[in-house]
Amino acid sequence: MAYSDKVLDHYENPRNVGTLDKNDPNVGTGMVGAPACGDVMKLQIKVNDSGIIEDAKFKTYGCGSAIASSSLVTEWLKGKTLDQAAEIKNSAIAEELALPPVKIHCSVLAEDAIKAAVADLKSKQPA
């Protein structure tokens, strides 16, 4: 299977691998996928007092495209508001990484992980 250079770069040098304290009220955690399907993504975002995402971390069990998709979105998320983050579309991820059709689901999973992390964070914040 041929991977694009961008996928290979993120696979070889993944950005922002790690874990944030999921009990921190300013941290939102999204975990999507299932081991039996071959992909599990855990994405965490941390907002500052102005509601801007100042940190993002991921861990991914999955193929090279799944690792690259989650690594890429951690870069994109930093500096965005939660509403801007929720607007990131899988098609943009797939386009940036030149994912082949059979790997589009990796970008869908990354979008789902963002939405799950944002929802988790919003549920923690006082209305």
């Binding site: 299977m1 991977y3 696979y11 993944p14 691998v17 874990t19 975990m31 999507v32 996928g33 299932a34 081991p35 039996a36 399907c37 071959g38 992909d39 599990v40 993504m41 855990k42 861990k59 991914t60 069990y61 999955g62 193929c63 090279g64 799944a66 690792i67 059979v102 689901h105 869908v108 999973l109 789902d112």
Partner: protein
Amino acid sequence: MTVHTPIYLDYSATTPVDPRVAEKMIPYITEHFGNPASRSHSFGWTAEQAVEEARDEVAKLVNADPREIVWTSGATESNNLAIKGAANFYSSTKGKHIITVQTEHKAVIDAVRDLERQGFTATYLAPEPNGLIDLEKFKAAIRPDTVLASVMLVNNEIGVIQDITAIGNICRENNIIFHVDAAQATGKVAIDLETLPVDLMSFSAHKTYGPKGVGALYVRRKPRIRIEAQMHGGGHERGMRSGTLATHQIVGMGEAFRLARLEMQTENLEILRLRDRLLSGLEEIDEVYVNGDMSQRVPHNLNISFNFVEGESLIMAVKDIAVSSGSACTSASLEPSYVLRALGRSDELAHSSIRFSIGRFTTEEDIDYTIALMKGKIGKLRELSPLWEMHLDGIDLSKVEWTAH
């Protein structure tokens, strides 16, 4: 220490032709090019003599009579010829039921499936979790109309050795023709067809340092086993397999099997030493599982699953070693190995398995490089894996409610 990457650890897929074998083959391409079936001149006689010397060597390795060896194009053809040939010959007198095993090579399974389409019925036995057949389950599968059983000697994916003597004896007691696929066995385990209760046995040259494109089928003479030809033509090979003999290929197979007979005992001790070194190195990694029985196994094979690492990313990570994976990349998705699934391995463990197969030209440096590579890459992928993190936190992953997609 220098190693050349990628390191070849896929000897169960194919082996390089031994230089001594290649040397012996070359004159039969250019110089002694005669057709072994030409009876009227010395070109033919020379070729025929070479073919018969090679037949002797193949027979000697497995302690058979040379007249029991039929040349084919490889083990796939031998399996097809044995299974279809015997089933069709004996079905009218014995019946139309066949017993085989879920972990057989596709050349056996698909040949049996083809017979099913022609009105035969088949039982595909499930192996035990260690890959071996429970003899009681084999006995229970026998029916009055069972005509043929086919069980491989050494499994290609997990290297386990089936108890061919015991299974063969059961077949004898029940008047069932017994075929054994020994493609992965020659040069690895001793085979004595004088004593083994086996009627038909398939061989391949290229798994034993011979050339690709040639194999053989053993067809027992006492008691005489009959098969229907699947290839029709000039009536070569006592009418069982027509087609001009590929003299140079056959010479290569003969020389490869001769070297195996002379060297297998010492060679296998060294391969066992390297296998044990590889195993103890890899067992320093947490959460690794050996697939297949460790005692009833050829030393050449080590099949290991690395838990909490995804299969495709594992293949990407180990590109410096040439190995086989439990995941077969199909166009749309990864398919876990049907052999590992038959052992009851989960999809995840089947996907994240690697078959290391060691051979004649493997060095200790190759093994040490492989151990270091695997430790580094598995560590890196687990650093990335949320499943590994959950495992370290003591979370039982089977109890987690996943969002399937």
